[in-house]
Symmetry: C2
Subunit: 149 residues, 2 copies
DNA sequence: GTTAGTGCAAATCGTTTGCACGGTT
DNA sequence: AACCGTGCAAACGATTTGCACTAAC
């Protein structure tokens, strides 16, 4: 996984290239995403930040705006839960897909080279300019299967 | 693809098993989904029904409630567009995945046996009881690539 | 007759936007 | 100084819900 220094430099470069500014809020959102492993909703991210930086004023709108920016810049990835919102995570680590537990909403990451390759072949076959993909296997995780008994 | 008679019988059976009623609205929603190929948002479905059955009174709430029921019953599948809603289609035909155009929201269906098989292997590997999966390849379709020039 | 289903409108939830002020360049 | 970013609250769009009425059983 990329180190934080490098990530920060490349984020600053992206901002500069687009005439955007590097603010406290953007700094802290990126740092928080980097240092907390896992997948967060915008609201979850906000409450982590409010807890970790009580002095900082920050609103949910900024979280959304910054996550949008980070997603465009390919720094974070998102996974969608229908009308139930989206979850975000740092996306500069190795790409992966998800197993989604329909009971507890837990996410398990995996990477499968065979699938990755097939996806590229399929996109090519349909003259599709692939910009990304997401694959979610829905089901009931090991732990929740036990609970049900 | 399953014929409509059989589908209707199994839907009625599901309703009966759960102490639910077979209503005009449910009848027509299923029929409309079956006879119109494609992927529809709840709003789109409602306007098709209102056009085809001008005498029927039906509201958007019923569409949502029925689609939820049909999805639980595995009769329809949905594909999510983040906060931009969901689209539904009859799911009793052969399973397939989607190419999603990020410009025009068009969906292209495909089926890839290699990927299907890999998914089962992955679920097994993580002791996941797979209940479903969705895979969406995002990108720009052939037509939209041309438009951009 | 009992119970579930309906349409409607209000409520809700996640997300986006307009605006005046504050911070970065 | 110029301009972007911010918080706030209002606006928004998709979906859900409470209610009194209606229809399926």
């Amino acid at each position: 996984m990329i180190d934080y220094e490098t990530l920060l430099i490349s984020f600053k470069q992206i901002l500069k290239d687009n005439g955007l500014k590097f603010t406290k809020q953007r700094d802290i959102i990126l740092k928080t995403l980097y240092s907390n492993t896992g997948h967060f909703t915008p609201e979850e991210l906000l409450s982590i930040i409010k807890k970790d930086y009580p002095k900082l004023t920050i609103g949910i709108a900024t979280i959304y705006r910054t996550l949008g920016l980070l997603e465009e810049s390919k720094i974070v990835d998102s996974i969608s839960f229908g009308a139930k919102g989206k979850k975000y995570e740092i996306g500069v680590k190795a790409h992966h897909d998800h197993l989604v537990c329909i009971e507890c909403a837990k996410l398990i990451e995996f990477l499968d080279e065979t699938i990755e390759l097939q996806q590229e072949l399929i996109a090519k076959k349909f003259d599709f300019k692939m910009t990304g993909h997401n694959m979610n296997i829905m089901g009931i995780c090991k732990e929740c299967q036990k609970k049900k008994i």
